[in-house]
């Protein structure tokens, strides 16, 4: 039985990013162009948590006949990421042979990821560099569209820069893209969006003929290559006689590792969580807490 039948004429574009970035808008532009070119189009996304800073994705599929609203894993012709780590999250949806990867190198750090406050702790953000990813995917582009838009004088045109890059990977006329974009952006920003779109196209054209691994504008620093400080151990001393149970340290400890015991005296309930930030020491009205550092344990290799 021929499973693959009817699928070959389909084009799959997956647009991903973080809530609030305009993923839906970008995919809408594409869907409108496909529609006006007489293709059947399905555009599928899931709303709900999008506004709360979670990841957002939109599948756009077009061709003579489209069945499934979602793109099967490994079959996206183009993956367009508005945010770097979201691009990596969906990377396995990209077609292995001939899939095109386009990503903004902008990094939006999840607030939760920054929670481990121990010295030298990992920031919790994908460490891969654009070069590494471009080498992996074979055909791709990584650009700092935000800075490019900023130079043009409007941060919000970043998505239009990306649309310019995307337009180079598809066969529609530039004017068709501009017509749709103009319908959707505020009247006073049409000119800047026109420039941004052209900027994206020019950048793609410039990069097109150099090796994939070099097609990026982002600096080559790993985001969590941070200075490792000597990992000391914290020692917290609480002078029980001086503590009057006012609760201030318990409330203000960023790691919430203090509590009041049965006698209403402060105690360290989660020693492992204490980072030695000294807030309790400074805030205690009775000078009952002292934070000290023990030398780092020997590293066992």
């Amino acid at each position: 039985m021929n499973v693959e039948k009817g699928k070959s004429n389909l084009t799959n574009v997956l647009v991903v990013g973080v809530g609030g970035q305009g993923v839906i808008m970008v995919s809408k532009v594409l869907a409108l162009i496909c529609q006006s070119n007489g293709f059947q189009v399905k555009q599928s996304e899931v709303h709900g948590m999008a506004k709360r800073g979670g990841g957002v994705f939109s599948h756009v599929r077009f061709g003579p006949e489209v069945w499934s609203p979602t793109i099967p894993k490994g079959e996206a012709d183009i993956l367009l990421a508005l945010e770097w780590a979201e691009g990596l999250r969906w990377i396995n949806y990209l077609k292995r042979d001939g899939g095109l990867f386009i990503a903004d190198t902008q990094k939006i750090f999840p607030p939760f990821a920054a929670r481990n406050r121990n010295r030298g702790a990992d920031v919790g953000y994908s460490p891969e560099t654009p070069r590494e990813i471009l080498e992996l995917v074979g055909d791709g582009y990584a650009l700092d569209a935000t800075s490019m838009a900023n130079e043009l004088g409007n941060l919000r045109a970043a998505n239009t820069v990306l649309l310019g890059v995307l337009s180079m990977g598809l066969d529609f006329e530039p004017q068709e893209w501009l017509d749709v974009i103009e319908q959707l952006v505020p009247a006073n920003s049409i000119e800047i969006n026109r420039l941004a779109f052209q900027q994206g196209r020019d950048w793609f054209a410039e990069m097109q003929n150099i090796p994939t691994a070099d097609r990026h504008t982002a600096p080559e620093i790993k985001p969590n290559e941070i200075v490792q400080s000597v990992h000391g151990r914290v020692k917290l001393e609480i002078v029980e006689d001086w503590c009057k149970g006012c609760d201030i340290c318990v409330k203000m400890c960023p790691e919430r590792c203090l509590r009041l015991n049965g006698e209403m005296i402060a105690e360290l309930s989660k020693p492992d969580a204490c980072t030695g930030c000294r807030v309790c020491e400074w805030l205690c009205p009775d000078y009952a807490i002292k934070v000290g550092m023990l030398p780092a344990l020997e590293v066992v290799s």
């Binding site: 039985m1 709360r52 960023p254 930030c277």
Partner: protein
């Protein structure tokens, strides 16, 4: 890489009829409007919310549309309109049916006067819900026909047809959607509205009053109705036999149909209108015509169980999971597992790291301070459903339980009556949820003199579902001014003696008020009062900045979980100092209030 497509365009353009791209939800609304619906009612809930929002865009002379306080109320409103002789629509998400089920179970005995259609949106994969229950089981249970469209065009057509079926068979009809269908946009060809004359109220107490003697005479009619609908679906165009390779036959319906077409386009397919009642003869005939029979249905084996009960050998859930949302790749894997198609050469995934990005409360969210205070107080918190449920995880991490909408207050009563907890017992509930199902338990708390504190999180809107109005906002679904049902008035009228309203952006006042409320013996209510910063209007004040010279990297501010605050590249004693993203800071000043070194200030 350029994708070549131009050559096909010309041929295509000639073939396609005049269409408009609509999401499934917009198509449902269009279908209802075309069917001549006069009254529509709903309570919001993802993924169903946009249906009534779209209905409200049609002219007021055509359709009256309202948000109801909860799903049961919305169904009763629609039922009333049907009694009164006009076609009516009710919309809810899957769990809404649980709330409305008491009314639904009686309504099915009564039937309809003018057509009544209930659109229910399921959420396979639990994108934004508390469970993934399958409404189709409800349909069978209530003996209400279920129509299951597979794309936006069918969403429109099935909805329109559902009203005719409702009147023809004297039954409410459920049209069942899923998140995927509701939120996929595809081309739809539109029709005109038919104006349906009101039938007027038909006095018929034997049918319309469910007392035991009437219910006893109505029940057998349900069996006849089932039989009639079965016959209808035998010959209906909605039951579609797509002849193909006779080696494999697939029975399917709804969104899974599109995956089957993509993966198994050559097989014989029997596409059903829905899962209940089944066209049994057609199924027998289909089964006999193929070598191996499969059923592809999302979630529960509703059709599979019925077909098996008919004594037909069929395979389904053995290869296609009962859990989560389907996708073409899952269907392909299932048929490969069954030995029908070649096992797709499974590509090894690129090993690329994944950044964890959970949803969080917005910068400046007025709910933040309540949970900051509750965590400091170390309370036992019975939570509820809304944006504030996000305070269950770090860093606010201060909610102990969440069951269903409106459960918080009564859960707290139970905890208090059980005794033995050393922590103060607190319930937190959103403003929309309070009117949805929080009022009866509050009355219960007063009546039974429970020693609990209720924090009413009044952000002046239904936030989680995207900013809908409700009785506490003073605006209708169409944005018109109406009576505002005042919280304090209601709460005092119920008999709560200790009620205080406090500004959610005043951290110290919040903390102090919570402690006072907890000290009060009996029911106390604190109204935490500030509008949502996102809906219905974005409220952005001047943003704050970190004067990093004084920042001691204690990161107390990060306990708020505000997404505008992150690590900076500066260090203090081995720790990252923090910075504020001016673009996303809303200027709520909570971080400045809790910063011990006073380094967060106005720009």
């Amino acid at each position: 890489m350029n994708i070549n497509m131009k050559n096909e365009q010309a041929q295509l353009a000639a073939k396609l009829p005049e269409t408009k791209p609509l999401s499934g939800n917009e198509a449902f609304a269009q279908g209802a409007w075309e069917a001549g619906v006069k009254v529509a009612a709903a309570y919001p809930g993802t993924p169903s919310t946009e249906i009534l929002e779209t209905v409200a865009k049609y002219p007021e002379e055509d359709i009256y549309a309202q948000w109801s306080t909860n799903e049961k109320v919305s169904l009763d409103v629609a039922t009333g309109a049907s009694f009164a002789g006009v076609r009516s629509l009710c919309v809810m998400k899957h769990v809404g049916v649980n709330v409305a089920s008491d009314a639904l179970m009686s309504l099915t005995y009564i039937g309809v006067n003018a057509g009544l259609v209930l659109i229910v949106c399921d959420d396979p994969g639990i994108h934004s819900s508390q469970n993934e229950q399958d409404t189709r089981i409800m349909c069978q249970f209530a003996m209400i026909p279920a129509l299951e469209p597979s794309d936006a065009q069918e969403a429109l057509e099935f909805t329109r047809l559902a009203f005719d079926l409702s009147e023809q068979f004297d039954t409410p009809v459920i049209v069942r959607s899923t998140t995927r269908l509701s939120h996929t946009r595809s081309p739809v060809s539109l029709g005109d509205r038919v104006e349906v004359e009101s039938r007027g109220f038909v006095e018929n107490p034997n049918k319309n009053v469910m007392i035991p003697s009437n219910a006893r005479t109505q029940h057998p009619k349900l069996l006849e109705r089932e039989k009639g609908l079965r016959e209808y679906f035998e010959t209906s165009e909605l039951t579609r036999w797509e002849k193909g390779d006779a080696k494999v036959g697939i029975i399917t319906m709804g969104t899974p149909y599109t995956y089957v077409k993509e993966v198994m386009g050559d097989a014989s397919i029997l596409k059903l209108a829905g899962s209940y009642p089944l066209p049994e003869n057609k199924i027998r005939e289909f089964a006999a015509s193929v070598d191996r029979l499969f059923i592809v249905e999302e979630l529960e084996p509703v059709v599979e169980t019925q077909v098996k009960a008919m004594g037909i050998a069929v395979e389904g859930k053995k290869f296609f999971s009962r859990l989560g949302e389907f996708s073409p790749e899952l269907i392909r894997a299932g048929f490969a597992e069954a030995g029908i198609i070649d096992k797709a050469t499974i590509q090894k995934d690129w090993n690329v790291s994944q950044t964890i990005r959970p949803p969080v409360l917005c910068s400046g969210c007025p709910h933040t301070s309540s949970y900051m205070a509750l965590r400091a107080i170390n309370a036992r918190v019975a939570g509820d459903i809304g944006c504030y449920t996000l305070a269950t995880v770090e860093p606010l991490q201060s909610i102990d339980t969440v069951v269903s909408m409106g459960s918080s207050i009564a859960n707290a009563i139970g905890m208090a009556k059980a005794g033995g907890d050393t922590k103060p017992i607190v319930a937190t509930i959103g403003d929309s949820t309070f009117y949805h199902s929080g009022v009866p338990p509050l009355i219960d708390a007063v009546y039974n003199d429970a020693d609990i504190t209720v924090i009413l999180l009044d952000n002046h809107v239904t936030g989680m579902t995207g900013g809908q109005d409700h009785p506490g906002t003073g605006l209708t679904l169409r944005g018109k001014k109406t009576h505002r049902v005042d919280y304090e008035d209601v709460i005092r009228a119920i008999g709560v003696k200790w009620v205080k309203k406090v500004d959610s952006y005043d951290m110290a006042a919040m903390y102090q008020t919570f402690r006072e409320a907890i000290d009060f013996k009996g029911v106390s209510v604190v109204i935490s009062d500030r509008p949502c910063v996102l809906d219905p209007l974005k409220i952005k004040g001047p943003s704050l900045e970190v004067r990093s010279k004084n920042c001691t990297a204690c990161q107390v501010c990060m306990n708020l979980g505000c997404p505008a605050i992150s690590w900076s590249d500066e260090w203090y004693d081995g720790h990252h100092k923090v910075k504020i993203d001016p673009q996303s800071c809303m200027g709520c000043t909570l971080c400045a209030q809790i910063c011990p070194s006073d380094c967060i200030q106005a720009v």
